[in-house]
């Protein structure tokens, strides 16, 4: 019996267009119109500034625990820009910038992180799933949504996000495997931010890349500089075209970094060096993109300031409005409302018990 070679047709590419110093590979530069470029920049900046403001609010005790996204704006915005409103967005929990781009209001996010049920409300017709906290579980929903889109004969596509840690879950395997078998139009975006709480990538997988895992499922995989919005945009565009043309799923590994803590309840200095963080800060996605836009003559100081002011004003309005809303929202009895389309009698009884308890104990509904 011979020992022979089996050639696997695909290879894995690494894509970088705009490097950490702002140097551009002009041959690979995607054709993006000026308006879109500025929109990309503004969306990234809004993601960044809102994240910073939320951290302040959390430290002041004005919102609860949340997972900061700082440093991952390019990975999110470069990819989410490829979706139409008729496509599906299936997030994990660290995609705030992408969620905002899809239309989620800043108020909704603030209410959510203050524990208000109202913050979970997704507007009708919005094809966004709620954040998924059980790590990896959303990957399967994306596969099913993709299957449904194909079954119904539409050209809708699905984009789902997850971290490097999630790739160790069975759901990652099952989701990608099923999607490839069904040739479902799904784009799997792995935000490889090097850490899963305190577990570094090296302890998560022995593979050289996450992208190469795609080969095992028989789908294209690509690794991109996740802090390079042009590279992410290009890879996601290619994947979206394939998906819309009926050519199945793609795995995109965005190499990026979790600059902040896992969540505000975490202290990363216990398990990683400041040096490492500093090295990654040098690769900041916004700084290099600003340089690119300046070189193109799209962003001078006054335009930059203008966008900054707009973004900060938007955030301030949202914070004011959310804090005002919180004074009247948060009816405790609402917790019974969204379990069944029609509330069964036993649940009605339990709701009534809580209502009576509240009436007897506080005389009024406690908000917040």
């Amino acid at each position: 019996m011979p020992r022979s070679r089996i050639d696997i047709p695909e290879t894995i590419h690494y894509l970088s267009i705009l490097d950490e110093h702002g140097v551009l590979d002009t041959e690979l530069e995607p054709q993006i119109d000026d308006k879109t470029l500025i929109a990309l920049y503004s969306a990234m900046l809004l993601g960044r500034r809102f994240d910073e403001r939320m951290l302040d609010l959390q430290r002041q005790g004005r919102i609860g625990t949340f997972p900061p996204i700082k440093g991952q704006e390019a990975a999110q915005i470069g990819s989410i820009f490829q979706l139409k409103s008729t496509d599906w967005f299936v997030p994990a929990f660290r995609e705030t910038a992408a969620e905002i781009w899809r239309g989620r209001s800043l108020e909704s996010i603030l209410l959510y992180y203050n524990g208000f049920n109202e913050g979970t409300i997704i507007p009708a017709d919005q094809r966004d799933l709620p954040m998924a906290v059980p790590v990896g579980s959303q990957i399967l929903h994306a596969t099913g949504l993709g299957y449904a889109a194909r079954y119904r004969g539409t050209d809708e596509i699905v984009m789902t996000y997850f971290g490097d840690g999630a790739t160790s879950e069975g759901d990652f395997h099952e989701g990608l495997n099923c999607a490839a078998v069904y040739q479902a139009p799904v784009i799997f975006i792995c935000q490889n931010n090097q850490w899963a709480i305190s577990i570094p990538l090296k302890q998560q997988t022995h593979s050289a890349t996450i992208a190469q895992k795609a080969l095992a499922y028989g789908m294209p995989g690509i690794q991109v500089d996740g802090n390079d919005v042009l590279a992410v945009y290009t890879a996601a565009q290619e994947a979206a075209e394939r998906a819309r043309n009926g050519d199945g799923p793609t795995l995109i590994e965005c190499v990026t970094y979790r600059v902040m803590m896992h969540t505000t309840a975490d202290d990363p200095s216990r398990y990683r060096d400041d040096e490492e963080v500093e090295r990654w800060r040098q690769k900041d996605p916004l700084t290099r993109f600003a340089v690119y836009l300046q070189n193109k003559g799209l962003l001078d100081q006054s335009r930059e300031q203008e966008i900054e002011t707009e973004v900060l004003a938007k955030i301030q309005t949202a914070v004011d409005s959310a804090e005002k809303q919180m004074k009247t929202l948060g009816e405790p009895l609402d917790m019974f409302n969204h379990l069944y389309a029609k509330m069964p009698p036993s649940l009605q009884c339990q709701k009534e018990e809580v209502r009576q308890y509240l009436a007897n104990n506080t005389g009024e509904v406690h908000h917040g």
């Binding site: 979970t120 997704i122 993709g146 299957y147 119904r152 495997n177 969204h338 009698p345 036993s346």
Partner: protein, 332 residues
């Protein structure tokens, strides 16, 4: 059933298959997915022949991946389809528990009321076929613990035929548990059999001395016991719960208000089981109707044994039902 209606002989398995076929015919959005449901016809042969009739897009074989296809079923339901997901047995559904409990049952809540998950999951449950400790448990009562889903347990041909369509119309996730010992059960089914309600329990035999509360395959043990007891002058009322979540309290409480005695027969484990829940509800809502304490007959709290005599010993048995009823009626 009235004798005037024309009836034909069929089996529980055929009744489930007809229900699936009808759903596939009536609604383009419906498809069946699961392990070996296609050419193989399902591990209990329920879907045999459906692949040829409906094609591979609608009778969808899946990879060996319970979490995967239950999760994909959730996604497909969110995407406008009406999936019927078949899981081989309740034991393997545990690999999909995260999808069922943390996802299907909570997405409506997590989306602020935006996303109902109109998903139906069918699976085989129960012991009695010597399938031993990893294929034969009765965990439907355990699933009934979970708010956000419905749990159905069809015991009769009518329910096997009729619950699926109603479940598919429900906007929320519905789990249907088919006891594996029932698939070969034969009987007459009306030609006009169709959708049935999935909210209420049914009195399957009327009696004035005691109420037996049961569901699924144990129904037949209770009915056999009732027949034997009638010969000794004890009139047993037998209630088939049909739905384990939500429970139809009103039907069994009304019965107990007439019989003043209640015995629960449940193939699940005793501690923390659905029998404990029903017993508690009777204490809460029907205590003053009782002449004697509520009792329970459940499966022994062991992994289901392989050997036939041991398996029989572990499960609720007709003789124990008869003895318990006699004791309760004489002393109550």
């Amino acid at each position: 059933m009235s004798g005037a209606q024309s009836a034909r002989k069929t089996s529980y398995r055929e009744a489930v298959k007809e229900a699936i076929r009808e759903a596939l015919q009536k609604d383009e959005r419906v498809f069946l997915m699961g392990e070996d449901v296609g050419h193989y016809g399902g591990c209990y042969a329920v879907s045999k022949g459906l692949l040829a009739e409906f094609g591979p897009e609608r009778i969808r074989d899946t990879p060996l991946s319970e979490g995967g296809f239950v999760g994909a079923g959730i996604g497909a339901a969110l995407g406008g389809l009406r999936p019927i997901v078949e899981v081989m047995t309740v034991n393997f559904s545990l690999l999909a528990l995260d999808q069922i409990l943390n996802n299907a049952a909570t997405l409506l809540h997590m989306s602020g009321g935006q996303f109902n998950v109109p998903l139906v999951i069918r699976m085989a449950t129960g012991a009695g076929k010597q399938l031993a400790a990893q294929h034969a448990h009765s965990l439907e009562g355990w699933y009934a613990h979970i708010p956000g889903i419905r749990v159905l347990s069809p015991a009769t041909l009518e329910d096997a035929r009729g619950m699926l369509w109603t479940a598919l119309q429900d906007p929320d996730p519905v789990l249907i548990f088919e006891n594996n010992t029932l698939y070969n059960m034969e009987g007459n089914l009306s030609e006009t059999a169709g959708p049935v309600d999935i909210d209420t329990a049914r009195i399957r035999r009327s009696g004035s001395d005691i109420t037996l509360i049961t569901y699924s395959a144990s129904l037949y043990k209770c009915l056999d016991a009732a027949t034997a007891l009638a010969g000794e002058g004890i009139e047993v009322e037998v209630i088939d719960l049909r739905s384990l979540r939500p429970l139809d309290d009103a039907t069994y409480l009304e019965s107990i208000s007439r019989t003043n005695r209640a015995l629960i027969v449940d193939e699940g484990w005793r501690s923390g089981g659905i029998s404990a829940e029903i017993s508690a509800r009777i204490m809460e809502q029907g205590f003053y109707d009782l002449d004697t304490p509520v009792e329970r007959i459940c499966t022994a709290e062991v992994p289901i044994p392989y050997a036939r005599h041991m398996e029989e010993a572990a499960l609720p048995r007709i003789d124990t039902i008869i003895d318990t009823v006699k004791r309760m009626v004489r002393h109550g």
